[in-house]
């Protein structure tokens, strides 16, 4: 719930477009987390769809900042296997996530870097390797990404428990 945005110390944001096949990974992770985990009181998990940047601007400028921000998204990264879940540092975000026809409306890397370097927020970016992003609108995750949703939730749970 947006009304709790500045009250929680851990924010988990799933981003991506559910209309674009495996790009819907982030929202699917949030859905799975909410249905299958009892998230602690200080955690807010939200499907941000393609709207995350609005919220990031507010977080960047707010007096009340979270301790941990976890961004969950899909990625097409060379050398990775479809469905592989991994963490990437901000400075290793692939170019195709930052520009032109990126399908993801991913938060601008600049803004994430600002959050990381100029505030006390710890930013974690958890991604899964896509099997395929369709050329045109087509909802639904691939089998590989459906499995990745479970793996990502387990990893997020570990992140949360370290802070909690």
């Amino acid at each position: 719930m947006i009304k709790n945005l500045f009250e929680k110390s851990i924010l988990v944001f799933g981003c991506g477009n559910i209309l674009w096949g495996d790009d819907g990974f982030g929202p699917a992770v949030i859905d799975h987390l909410k249905k299958n985990y009892s998230l602690p009181e200080n955690v807010l998990a939200m499907d941000m769809g393609t709207s995350i940047r609005d919220i990031l601007f507010d977080i960047a400028l707010s007096e009340k900042k979270p301790e941990l921000l976890i961004i969950v998204d899909a990625v097409d990264h060379p050398g990775r296997n479809p469905g592989e879940v991994f963490e990437i540092p901000i400075n290793k975000i692939p170019d195709n996530k930052t520009s032109d026809f990126s399908l993801h409306q991913f938060p601008t890397v600049n803004l994430l870097e600002e959050l990381q370097s100029q505030t006390q927020i710890k930013v974690k970016i958890l991604v899964a390797q896509t099997q395929k992003i369709p050329d045109e609108v087509k909802p639904g995750l691939s089998k590989e990404m459906e499995n990745a949703v479970i793996l990502a939730c387990e990893q997020i749970w570990d992140f949360i428990n370290v802070v909690v």
Binding site: S62, D95, D100, E114
Partner: protein
Amino acid sequence: MGKVINIQPITRIEGHAKVAIHLNEEGNVSDTFLHVQALRGFEKFCEGRPVEEMPRIVCHICGICPWAHHLASSKAGDACLGVTVPSAAIKLRRLMQMIAYVGDKLLNFYFLAAPDFVIGPDSDYSVRNVVGIIGAAPDIAKKVVHLRHLTAQILEEFAGRAIHPTFSMPGGVSKPMTEKERKKILVSADELLEFSKFTIGFAKENVFPKYLDAIKSIGVIKVGHIGTVTDDGALDFYDGKLRLMKPDGSFDDFAYDEYLDNIGEHVEPWSYQKFPFAKKWADKPVLDLDNPAGIYRSNCLARINVCDKMATPAAQAELEEFRESFGRPAHLTLLYHYARLIELVQCAESMVQLLHDPEITSPDIRVKVEPKAGRGVGCVEAPRGTLIHDYETDDNGLIKKANIIVGTTHNNAAMNLSVKKTATELIKDGTYDQGILNKVEMAIRAYDP
């Protein structure tokens, strides 16, 4: 063989974009290409879906303008199914639209545009950023965050969801407003109106005068404008008729469902995004700096150019002051930022007016719809420009055909032209620096793509 300068990402704009500036052997600009993200295949995806589900689906087209898509789609559905929406439902749709737009316009001015103006266009990016704003104007930054959060909270608490709205549908809206809700939202609306007036005053006094040279020089082009006006010529974000104005200020008005007679959609091989153009002015858009043809702009500057007046008193006073300084139509690209603030005032005033309207709490908020064949063109003014949803349904109310033109797409040709103008004027003999490239970005950011 010349060189290509690539700028990517265009920091802080609302969509993803990149610019390629091609230099010739002398190091001068030979051509420029602006690529903006496009959602391909959406219209095909819509086919076969029940029209009443469309307002919920289309919110996923754009994470920044979900409410505009939500409402344009609802209006197209109303028309396809041939229903007359109760007046109270229209007022509630308008109210939610205004609340969403106030939040959006505050975001745009303070977080996207302000780093250029408050901190300075030639400053290093390490300080010319969002966090830099805190250092430059901490009290204002705090207030903006508080008020933006307020708009999102109102949308979430009253309409159910702020990000992927489900409030509106063909035939009306999902719930009425209680008196208790009205009073609570009105307190926030008054605060938002007060801050909107402060914002335009602050910008006129502290921001725009310092950068008048930049405003007069960056990305200036002379093309047409499009926007929605009421029958008496007032700017309206929700409903009215379309007005297409030529660069000289003459214009034609037409009904939404006549848009295909007036707007063509050109395709260029180097861009997935369509290039809408004014059909009656040219056979296709011509991106020639000296003789542009068929090109028009959308979004706030275009809207305040095409309207005869604003719909609310404080916004009207601002428009009059603006026109005294810049005339009608105003062509300076960076005036988009000024125009956006005039619109901010209208949105905030409209919000308060709607909340004082006794009908806003009427329980009559929806009529029953039955599946039927029809065509509906739903159009609203989105924050980023004129948004058109055109649907055809079959006897079962399923989408047979859809055509969508989003606000930023209308500006595709104009943005390309502004980029070309800025780059051509500033990059000479292969010499350029970060300040020059940021000015190219500023020309794009003004349009808020």
